[in-house]
Symmetry: C2
Subunit: 357 residues, 2 copies
Amino acid sequence: MSFTFFTPGPAQLYPTFEKHLQTFVTDQLGSISHRSQQYRDIHKFTVDQLRILLNVPASHAILFLGSASEIWERILFSCVELESYHLVNGSFSKKFYDYSNSLNKYAHLFEKPMGESFVASEVVVPEYAELICTTHNETSSGVQMPVSEIHKIKQKNPSKFIAVDMVSSAPYPELDYSLIDTAFFSVQKAFGLPAGLGVWIVSEKCLQKAEYIKNQYSIGAHNDLPTLWKNALNNETPATPNVMGIYLLGKIAEDFNKIGVQNIRKETEQKAALIYKFIEKTTGFTPFVKDKANRSQTVVVANTELVSTDIIKAVKSQGMVIGSGYGKYKLNQLRIANFPATSLEDVEKLIHVLGRI
Amino acid sequence: MSFTFFTPGPAQLYPTFEKHLQTFVTDQLGSISHRSQQYRDIHKFTVDQLRILLNVPASHAILFLGSASEIWERILFSCVELESYHLVNGSFSKKFYDYSNSLNKYAHLFEKPMGESFVASEVVVPEYAELICTTHNETSSGVQMPVSEIHKIKQKNPSKFIAVDMVSSAPYPELDYSLIDTAFFSVQKAFGLPAGLGVWIVSEKCLQKAEYIKNQYSIGAHNDLPTLWKNALNNETPATPNVMGIYLLGKIAEDFNKIGVQNIRKETEQKAALIYKFIEKTTGFTPFVKDKANRSQTVVVANTELVSTDIIKAVKSQGMVIGSGYGKYKLNQLRIANFPATSLEDVEKLIHVLGRI
């Protein structure tokens, strides 16, 4: 039986994935040297396509690492000499904060319960905090922070660095990189690829800070920003990278660009509207996030009256896989991913099946 | 045109790779949750197959990271509070040493020119060094350190930790894990898989040391040993792993186990003997490593009279790809990988073509 995955990552693979994988195999790209022109061309293609897709200016590099979690660490090593500041409203923003503590930084915390978001007007960044860590899309709770609020925080704090976790939303958020110093995502979410690759967008100002810190403290040895940056100038990585992941990401980004990122965003909103409408009007379901402005367009979280694992089982028997609640919400919430890999028809079918439970 | 790759990594993909990849795609394993029983079963299968293949006892965990380079860093964070000691005879052993310096450890160095190896009797480990870093197979120079010498170093220094880089030789070296505290490799070499996964074999004693250090210093935030270990007990990883790489590695390790690791080692030696015999007796080629006992069985390095890039071009026109020399040896050396993915017939064909140049 073949399933359609509405899980928040790993997720449904993008429809063109198999075709691109076949080309990768046929062209023997799994065997090419990562120091060859053939590799550098692939690397550059992926960077160029992502630059177009996400409107990333030349001031920012696009770097490839093992995972978004690894990028949390590398951002903290690079941009924080002593103090960071974290907006925490779920498990993943909390982990970013935990990483800062693990690196023996002084991590300031502004925490809200799961399901709530932040507005710029309430954010007061401590004087000595060097980096503001925000999460555009909290995968655990389905809260999406409006991009305009993220931009406002930076405008209020122009001397601080700001980082945006868009792991489970890129390419949906339209970030303004004249304001955003660094952002990152992983490929097993909205890009519909197998896991194993994190993408780090990072400005030259962050590089300068990393170089400054490196003169005084260790900023780690593996994938430190100055070394990553130097290699990226030559379309390479310091260590042997996930060539397959980088190749496939470039191809999917190209597919997205052919559709047009604005069309992808529009379709994402249309599909999300359908799902939210369904859980609002259907007995047994309510949206977990009360404030409509903060409801995620890419990971919808619903409270359920029935035990959610029973719903998941019933939906699976109809060929669809949806996610359980996160952590303590495992049994009374559903998480429904709304990524480009699932079409409007897929979403309609899911709603139809959910409605009959 | 389809090529046979004799490059030292990324390398020829193992003949069963495509079949296993097809199963991965058909079974939609790229979409499964990394917190599901289905994932845990895959994870456990790969660990179990590697445990059989490499004869790894229960005292050691088998962990999955992004690359062998990442593992260098995690070993140093975990096993070295203040001082490490490095046997350096090429570019990769040198990088392991550089990583220690980058983490602000005091890194002791015993360096020899490329092409030379170490014997246990000449190794005097400084009193306060906590970890001895050895490289079983120097991919840059084609020097292989006999396993017996590595074991002897540990026997002479039982209170020190010993690490073995077997990136480009595993599963060839028959390590005795009652002596070896930690070892590691990556999958794009002798396992014939696309790059993007590093495997870390590490003992409970290293874990205890990591926990001890963590009480006093930062040992990093991402993939730190105590967190990796805790997750591994449940057949999981802290962050979303390269599920595809882990699945394929388990399948290839199973294939190796069906053949029998001793048979793979024997065939590796037979093929290496053919290549060394050829470069010894053929005008225009000489082995770079003078001492036969130290010649790598998995990465053969030959000095060439002709410019090696010309030889590489000529060989490529016959459907085979061989590696250039490393760094300053780029133009007057060849590196020929001898991994399980290339058969005796492939090697005979390569020798035939090289002989006609």
